[in-house]
């Protein structure tokens, strides 16, 4: 099962009621899989006329209390940003998968990590946040999908799973099983028909003086809770490291090989791998920067997450960037060479 199919099945196991999507490479296996599997489960699959329509179909389904998702790739995700902003404003849960490709513009269909800014900075207009996962294996992609639906419902906001062309196409053995989910609040806000109750209204327009400011502050408090409670990251041999490589997603898989090679050569290297990109593991990176060491950030872009690393390091240690944009994929040896150049090289015994 390739990553795209695995994440689709994970969504079904997680209780996704409806999938809406529009074709775009490199994520077409998701809609093909959903077109077959969702009707088998008695759930909704619909190919929309555009990404704009897809995200708005998600908006409608979600407003009625259903678990809804869509998936796309970079140019399509740009079109969905209108809906992302409205989901955030209307406090509606949704899961959106971005299997990133090269950009800007039509770019290419090669794997990329060029949408980090768009994903973690909101992407659409207004003062809001989106929870963003950056999984680096097919199993983690599956696990993130399950968690994404729960977090979306818990915090009533859109959650994005940020994959890339390699992860979507890669095949790995996986286990998909329904784990006990979170204790989620009842969706008393859902539009189900005002039968023996007062009307429910789902909206994002607040014209009264100070009303929108109050909503923004309510969202801010919620985002602070998320920053406190939902950070996920993996650390490897950071305490003794003279160089810490920071990478996420498929770039982190390559970094993993490079760090192991460096350690075999006697270089004290470790890694920090953010799994949630927002909330970013700021504390973990900051703590690692307390002991002076070199931070190397590796991305398949010309440097986006590196800004979050610099903010976390806050001048306490040097932060070096190495990137391959536009569909370029670094090799293990390429990153190993950078690690070697940035350190004193293998320790020689006298």
């Amino acid at each position: 099962m390739c990553g795209n199919e695995a994440l689709a099945e994970a969504a079904i196991v997680a209780g996704c009621d409806a999938y809406f999507g529009y074709p775009i490479t490199p994520q077409n296996e998701i809609s093909a899989y959903m077109a077959r599997r969702m009707p088998e489960e008695g759930r909704v699959f619909l190919q929309s006329e555009s990404e704009l329509a897809a995200i708005n179909m998600v908006f409608g389904a979600s407003a009625t209390g259903k678990r809804a998702m869509t998936s796309s790739s970079s140019p399509g995700i740009s079109l969905m940003q209108e809906g992302m902003s409205y989901l955030a404003g209307a406090e509606l849960p949704a899961v959106v998968v971005n299997v990133m490709r090269g950009g800007p513009g039509l770019g290419n269909i090669a794997p990329s990590q060029g949408d980090y800014f768009q994903a973690t900075r909101g992407g659409g207009h207004g003062d809001y946040r989106t929870i963003v996962f950056g999984p680096s294996s097919v199993q983690e992609l599956v696990d993130c999908m399950m968690l994404a639906f729960d977090l979306a419902d818990q915090y009533r906001m859109p959650v994005m799973v940020l994959a890339d062309g390699i992860l979507g196409q890669m095949m790995e053995p996986i286990v998909i099983e329904k784990k006990p989910g979170r204790d989620l609040p009842a969706k008393t806000w859902a539009l189900t028909g005002a039968d023996d109750r007062e009307q429910n209204i789902v909206r994002s327009l607040w014209l009264g003086e100070g009303v929108l400011e109050a909503l923004n502050n309510k969202l801010r408090d919620r985002y602070q809770q998320i920053e406190k409670n939902e950070v996920l990251c993996e650390q490897y041999e950071v305490d003794e490291a003279e160089i810490v490589v920071v990478a996420y997603g498929i770039a982190a898989r390559i970094v993993c090989g490079a760090v192991h090679k460096a350690r075999q050569e006697g270089i004290n290297a470790g890694w920090i791998r953010p799994i949630t990109l927002w909330p970013f593991p700021t504390e973990q990176v900051s703590k690692a920067a307390d002991g002076f060491r070199v931070f190397l950030v590796v991305e398949m872009s010309n440097g986006q997450m590196v800004e979050d690393v610099r903010l976390a390091v806050s001048g306490k240690s040097p932060v070096i960037f190495y990137g391959r944009p536009g569909g370029g994929v670094p090799t293990v040896d390429e990153i190993f060479d950078v690690i070697k150049q940035l350190t004193l090289g293998p320790k020689t015994r006298i």
């Binding site: 708005n56 908006f59 009625t64 409205y86 539009l191 005002a194 209204i201 327009l205």
Partner: protein, 244 residues
């Protein structure tokens, strides 16, 4: 004393923000009456557009959502596909439906979504200050056609209902008006029929276009605006059943 005319329960007991002589208030009432007569308040979900009617949920006492400009048919699609037992209607103006949302209404009709659309055509963008809409009449002066709409420059008024009536996915399309008592009664009949079709489970989209006065941006008195619908608008937007 005998009460011969009263507020219908689904219409909230409050003044609206609409301008004097605006048609939205009448259209709201017709929808509220329909919902009450068909006894579907408990399973109806309404969709408010971007435009003058964005606050429709302040006046219609049913579950409602406010959506991005023009996207109501897509939102309605998501709702209805997940909740076939609910009655889903969108309430959209001509800027919303015929301009920015032309793609969404076309494809909802094309797919035959089982939803009801109330399309208020007042030939102008109201909320933003009276700019030209696709439905603006030739020679009509608006904020963005100060010398009047010219076909060579801005194209002809867009007849969306005629366009939609060509689609097999639509089951009922009728154009009505709010220009007098008889016209209002016809509009009520059409709205009720559109809802009844959805309740019956008929396979397809039903749409009622309502020619509605906007005295403010037509720069007329309310009475003149009513007359202008009959003397001018119906020439380009003829009343009657276009499909079903």
């Amino acid at each position: 004393m005998k009460t011969v005319f009263a507020r219908t329960p689904t219409l909230k007991d409050c003044p609206t923000h609409y301008c004097p002589g605006c048609g939205h208030g009448i259209a709201h009432r017709l929808i509220a009456e329909t919902i009450d007569e068909l006894n579907i308040r408990g399973r109806t979900i309404g969709i408010a557009p971007v435009g003058c009617a964005v606050l429709a949920y302040d006046y219609l006492d049913v579950d409602m959502i406010e959506v991005a400009h023009g996207r109501a048919p897509a939102v309605a699609t998501g709702m209805k596909r997940c909740n076939p037992d609910k009655i889903i209607f969108s309430y959209q103006g001509d800027g919303d439906l015929a301009s920015i949302g032309a793609g969404e209404i076309l494809h909802a009709g094309h797919r035959g979504e089982q939803i009801t659309v109330i399309f208020i055509n007042n030939a102008v963008f109201g909320m933003t200050g009276g700019q030209m809409a696709p439905t603006t009449m030739l020679e009509q002066v608006t904020a963005t056609t100060p010398k009047g709409r010219a076909a060579a420059r801005e194209g002809y008024p867009l007849q969306v209902s005629e366009l939609l009536a060509t689609l097999p996915g639509t089951i009922y399309i009728e154009r009505c008006a709010l220009s007098g008592v008889a016209a209002v009664r016809n509009t009520k009949k059409a709205i009720k029929h559109a809802f009844e079709l959805q309740i019956s489970g008929a396979q397809g989209l039903s749409l009622v276009e309502v020619l509605s006065p906007c005295p403010t941006y037509w720069r007329m008195s309310p009475a003149e605006a009513m007359e202008w619908i009959d003397t001018h608008m119906t020439k380009v937007f003829p009343l009657g059943r276009l499909r079903g």
